[in-house]
Amino acid sequence: MSTAKPAGATPGPSPADALLSVEALVKVYPGGKRALDGISFAVGRPEVIAIIGSSGAGKSTLIRCINRLVEPTSGRIRLKDTEIAGLPRRELRRVRRRIGMIFQEFNLVERLTVMENVLSGRLGSVGFMASLMRRFPPQDVSGAFALLDRVGLDGYHDTRADALSGGQRQRVGIARALMQRPDLLLVDEPTASLDPKTARQIMRLICTLAQEHNTPALVNIHDVALAQSFASRVIGLKGGRVVFDGPPATLNAGVLTEIYGAEDWSQTIRRTGEDDEE
């Protein structure tokens, strides 16, 4: 297996025993737009990896290609020992059960209760009739209650999702993803629809929970400061290519300029040192 090492290589295992490895991933949209142009990286240990880049750099496409909500044009995606690209529908579903996803717009089913939304993370493990009757195994139900408690929504189980605030909805989204007991978390702009304070709380929650569950998380984020304060590794995308891959401390004005274009970065970088105060 010969793979070009990603730019700014991080210490990590070879793709063969990685938790997740992406090789030469290409996505060309029907209109001819080349959203991903040969992305390669590997995730060797459970850590939070922030993917940064300006809008249109391919962040969202990358995340969505990994669980194939977007069908990649070519390349390989390997989750532990499973090759995801090219899997037939049935097996794809089995792999998706191992990948939790958190969305920018939360994507809760608004007219269902919080509990139903959280339990929907277990749909892969119950049959159709059981899901119709809302009969989930006892350990899933108690697991869901525990997760709700953990994300700070104890007592909200019978509330309808459309009665929640944005931050609360994202907490439900997080609980739903963790309900899957995933091998990997895909997080697509989790804070873009939230106010700055809630955004920090949600980011912290995602990172702590990823750590607690020993799960690697890929987090799309365009707030560089947030990425720097929460991630242990940052991947910078530009024009569908990886232009940076390294620890947040090594992000400097030069790198940011390469990712986002020329701008005064001194404010952004200085905030890295100070940590949150809430």
């Binding site: 998706r96 089913v109 269902l112 749909l123």
Partner: protein
């Protein structure tokens, strides 16, 4: 520029000459078409001459209403409501799978979509009463034919509106459920059904209200309900009974309209 030099037009018209001509042409051709339609129907104008006398005569013969007929029609009245309710309930059950078949984003392939659409068009383009004719030929006269007719017509009505609502459903939750690795049926159940439920219930209640009105005439073709008594009374020239039946229909239709409006207001 001096004040005097500026001249203003003295004639103002809203439309240009061409627009005026077009709009007149439209009016004239519509009128011509109407006149042609009416003349083609070979109307016997003589009938119009004494129509008002006939109408007054009819009204006089209707009064006073024959109250003794009221107990006789209680049964048929209830039957009318039952036909509407059971028919609507059957249509409710079948409309959901049909809607998923006929919605572009949930159907299996182009072929199943075509089947779904054909069933929709077939159900909707045949009137309830004509469905009644057909089912009377199949099941024989009686309320079963009426129920089948109501169900056959309503299933397309409900499924069309539900299918539209499926096509307009928010993609986000659907994607989220898909990404948990749920099966297709579960994605529909959790991702789509909650979104279309209000439309399904609202249109069902609305259709039930229409169906009460429809089943009041199903008896004309032998498909059960109060229509049979109405038709019989008219044919026997028992106009005092006709008035009672009409009043009874008025009452149940108004009640069903009120119930339907109340339920729909509570849902939204």
């Amino acid at each position: 520029m001096s004040e005097a030099a500026k001249r203003y037009p003295e004639i103002w018209q809203r439309r240009s000459l061409r627009e005026t001509v077009t709009s007149w042409l439209w009016t004239v051709s519509l009128a011509a078409a109407a006149v042609w339609s009416i003349t083609m129907l070979d109307i016997e104008w003589a009938f119009f001459r004494d129509a008002h006398e006939q109408a007054i005569d009819l009204a006089e013969r209707m009064w006073p209403p024959r109250w003794s007929y009221l107990p006789v029609i209680i049964g048929p009245l209830l039957e009318t409501i039952h036909i509407a309710t059971i028919g609507t309930a059957i249509a409710y059950v079948f409309s959901v799978p049909l809607a998923f078949l006929a919605a572009r984003n949930t159907t299996l392939n182009g072929f199943t979509w075509a089947i779904g659409r054909t069933l929709l068009v077939a159900s909707r383009s045949v009137n309830t009463v004509i469905w009644g004719l057909l089912f009377v030929a199949i099941f024989g006269p009686g309320p079963v034919a009426g129920i089948a007719a109501v169900a056959a017509r309503s299933v397309g009505f409900l499924a069309k509106l539900v299918a539209e609502s499926i096509e307009e459903a928010d993609r986000g939750p659907v994607e989220a459920i898909e990404s948990t690795g749920a099966g297709t049926g579960q994605v529909y159940l959790f991702g789509i059904m909650p979104q279309v439920m209000p439309v399904l219930i609202g249109t069902t209640v609305y259709r039930w209200d229409i169906n009460v009105r429809e089943s009041s005439v199903l008896g004309f073709v032998g498909a059960g309900g109060i229509g049979l008594q109405l038709y019989a009374s008219i044919n026997q020239f028992a106009w005092q009974q006709v008035l009672i039946v009409l009043a009874a229909i008025l009452v149940i239709v108004l009640i069903s309209e009120a119930v339907s409006a109340y339920v729909r207001a509570r849902i939204s």
